[in-house]
């Protein structure tokens, strides 16, 4: 059997045998959603509906078919942020404060040294 000629269908390609996650952040976003589901923070139906809505919204933007599946975990992350705030597990303001804290911690840490977040850093 010849390898499939997937170039004829824009955006459709194969990753047979490829890694499940292409970057650590994808794995962590995956694990976060499952951990929250396991403790009952949301139902899987709620998760699927939220993820589907994020993917549908992104598909509208890239209706030329550029949504080739490679941005899947970006949609996953957006769905996670949406459910976390909708379920009031955290506020958008808190998330922003922690993003800024991590950004600051990274920028003030030389290469080769572990980046740590100050234990007492608060957003209020």
């Amino acid at each position: 059997m010849n390898p499939p000629d997937l170039q004829r269908s824009p955006g459709l390609h194969i990753d047979e045998g490829g890694p499940v996650f292409r970057a650590p952040w994808e794995a962590h976003a995956f694990g976060l959603a499952l951990a929250l589901y396991e403790r009952g923070a949301f139902t899987w139906q709620e998760w699927a509906a939220t993820l589907g809505a994020e993917i549908a919204a992104a598909t509208e933007v890239t209706s030329d078919g550029r949504d080739d599946g490679s941005r899947y975990y970006e949609h996953w992350l957006a769905a996670l942020e949406r459910l976390v705030t909708d379920k009031r597990l955290a506020t958008a303001r808190e998330l922003l404060a922690y993003r800024q804290a991590w950004d600051h911690a990274a920028r003030s840490t030389p290469h080769g040294k572990p980046i740590v977040l100050a234990e007492d850093r608060r957003d209020d």
Binding site: S9, H13, V20, F21, E38, D68, G69, Y72, L77, W102
Partner: protein, 214 residues
């Protein structure tokens, strides 16, 4: 700080050679740290879940199910009647496998699985979905032109073969039971499982023929 005379060690100063996180990395770190400090998640749990899906759950599980169904007619009957229970007999249970349906390929019927909404997929038997399964091209085209999709995977079906497309949901997920290849009569279950690819259980290809390179 009294032991330090390097002014760049002070908090609040960017290092000229400082590190950078990407936007998505920052967003994930913010979620994980904040939810951990709130006691809503445990980093060890996240590590366990990721490790499980990276190493212990994958399409080899589904291949064992298919091989058993090929080798054991009674098991095949149970699989087609109640796939969730039959798959659990082999120890494969868990998230996204709570309500499984097995659909059998025959010379007259070819089954193809898609999730048009997002990427619902039977994790306990197939692991996490491949990138192309999540693509807009596959999600849209599998329904509109399934024969065209199959042709791109190298599978051309005769006009007399009925193609059935199954749209997975958060409630129901499908496993294709491929046709047992010709020439596989004498093989044991281990050897049969080697013929079963992930893609054949999604329905975009057939099982391999004995002797064919995987």
């Amino acid at each position: 700080m009294s032991d330090h005379d390097h002014d760049h060690d002070h908090d609040g100063h960017d290092h000229a050679d400082g590190s950078r996180f990407s936007d998505v990395e920052l967003r994930v770190k913010a979620l994980e740290t904040l939810l951990t400090r709130k006691g809503l998640v445990d980093p060890a749990t996240i590590d366990r879940l990721v490790e499980t899906y990276e190493t212990r759950i994958g399409p080899r599980n589904g291949a064992r199910v298919v091989a058993r169904a090929w080798a054991d007619p009674a098991y095949k009957v149970r699989l087609l009647q109640d796939a969730t229970a039959a798959i659990a007999e082999l120890g494969y249970t868990g998230l996204q496998g709570e309500h499984m349906v097995a659909v059998e390929n025959t010379p007259q019927i070819h089954n193809l699985v898609v999730c048009t909404l997002c990427s619902c997929y039977p994790w306990p038997v197939l692991g996490l979905p491949p990138v192309w399964y999540k693509s807009y091209a596959y999600r849209s085209k599998a329904v509109i032109d399934p024969r065209g999709v199959l042709a791109e995977f190298g599978l051309t079906l005769g006009p007399d073969v009925e193609v059935r497309v199954w749209d997975s949901t958060a409630e129901i997920r499908y496993l294709v039971l491929p046709e047992r290849p010709a020439g596989s009569a004498g093989l044991d279950e281990d050897a049969l499982a080697e013929l079963v690819s992930r893609d054949s259980m999604i329905g975009v290809t057939r099982a391999r023929n004995p002797g064919a390179r995987s």
